[in-house]
Every structure is written in C-alpha cells, then in structure tokens.
Symmetry: C2
Subunit: 140 residues, 2 copies
Amino acid sequence: MPTKKQIADRHRRTRRDHASETAEDYVEAVAEIVASEAGECRVANLAKRFDVSHVTVSKIVARLAREGLVETEPYGPVLLTVAGRRLAAKCRERHETVYAFLVALGVPTDIAAVDAEGIEHHVSPQTLAQFAKFVEERAE
Amino acid sequence: MPTKKQIADRHRRTRRDHASETAEDYVEAVAEIVASEAGECRVANLAKRFDVSHVTVSKIVARLAREGLVETEPYGPVLLTVAGRRLAAKCRERHETVYAFLVALGVPTDIAAVDAEGIEHHVSPQTLAQFAKFVEERAE
DNA sequence: CTAAAATTGTAGCCGTGGCTACAATTGTGT
DNA sequence: ACACAATTGTAGCCACGGCTACAATTTTAG
C-alpha cells in the first residue's frame, strides 16, 4: 500500500506535468506547421490551431523562448531550437503511439483523437512501451 | 482527416477538462478521507493529501462550494453535497478501472498508480468501456 | 509610393492554483 | 480557567493561460 508521501508525490508529479503540457502541445504544433505547406510557423498559425487569441500565443511563445525551446524575433516567425525539435519529435511519436493504441483497443477514431490529446502527456515511458507492444501484437 | 476546427475543438476540450480535474481530485479525496478512520474531512487532511498549503485547499474548497460540490462552514469540516458524492463515486470507479487496466496491460503497479492519476481525467466513456472490457477479458 | 489589411506587440484585466505571513478560532492539557 | 497547540481564515504576492482594446509593424493592394 502506498504511503501518504507517495500519494502526495503522485499528485505533485501530476501538477508538474501540467506545467509542461502546454509546452509540449506548442512545440508539437510548431513542428507540424513548419512541416506543412505553410513552411514557417507564425503566431497567427498557432492562434488558429489552438483557437485562442494571438495574445495568448505571444505570451506562451515568450515563455517557451525563456525555456529555450523556441527562438523568435519581433514580428518574425517562431523557430524551434534543437531542444525544441527534440521535444517535438518525442511528443509526436508518443502522441501517435497513444492514438494507435486506442484505435487498436477498439475506440472509434474520432474519440481516440480527442482522448489521445488529453492522455499523451500523462503516459510514462513504461506505459508507452506497453501501448506500443499492444499495437504491434494486434498488427500481426 | 480532421478539419482545423475539429483540431481546435479537441484542444478546447482538453483545456475545459483541465478546469474540472482539480474538482474531481478533491471530491474523490474528500470521499476517501470521510470513508477512512478519520471519519470526516478537514482542510488539513486535504492539505496533507495533496502536499499543498492549507491556504490553497481553502481557496479550492471555496470554489467547490460555489459550484455546489461541497458544503462547509467556518472552521468546520468539508462535507460533500449530493452532487459531490455522485461525482466522487464516478471518479473513483473510473480511477479504479484505469488503474486495473494499466496493470492488466503489464504496467508495474507503482507506475500504473502514477499514470492512472494523470490519465483518468482524460478518458472518455467510450475509451473507459474498452478499458473495462480489456480488464474483464484478461481476468478470465 | 501610399493607403488599407493583416499581423504582432503592449497594456491591463480575470480566474486558477501555488505561496508566506499574520490574525482568528477551536481544541487540549494542565 | 487559562495558556498553548493546532487548525482555519485573511491579506497579499506570484506565474500561467485566458481575454479585449489599442498601438506598432509588416504585407499587400491600388
């Protein structure tokens, strides 16, 4: 049985995850937009993508810049740093695994898409490995 | 392929979920504490449980009271309303299903406990049903 | 080239979930 | 009863992710 400290730790970790969820969503989106026809990612692209105001995007991009995930200049595009690209790649892979897993489990694709969005940030490497294994087994 | 609007909707939903996560965690915790040896749930119990200050708990409890999930009087215990008890029961069941599912999948119990904490709030009824089905099949 | 449109930045507000510090209340132990 | 401990409330601060309104800049159209 878990101790009270362990329960508190679990919750603390859940909160810490929260802080990085936005960062993960944004770097993932930036990578996708750069890879799209758009070619480059602008604040406006992110605002549309997340359906928020450009002001909200600006503030979050500023934070990501502070954290070294993106680089940007006034009125310029949003560029991923090396760290940002690394994080984006990791998130994209994890996202795809979670989505594929849910679909393999029998969840309708539209619902799997929504759930994957929420779940992906809380999946540990161990759980992700089990997800991937399950998908592989079903694929044979 | 999903439209941009659908992608934005997915993110909006993810954000809305965020808002209710705290509420769910708290009513669940209140129900557990009330059911424990403690017998009643006080602000101090929640503060220890989530490893936050009593001030943070007070503010959140006040919000839950505004939302009709709990009732409380100055210097008194935190009581669940009917709506609060209903939500707590739903969350507890969902939490247990997610945990059991991860364990059935092969995730170590300690890691499953952490992941379940983060995942439970983002599982749709459809996905939860698949989780439950999977657990049942493995149990035979 | 200049004027209008689109984009981005800035100022200032809100609610949520964190905190410390201090005040008030309740509970306990002589 | 009274003092001390524990608990809860209040004041006031912070960062984050939202917003509107307005200013600045860049892009695009004429």
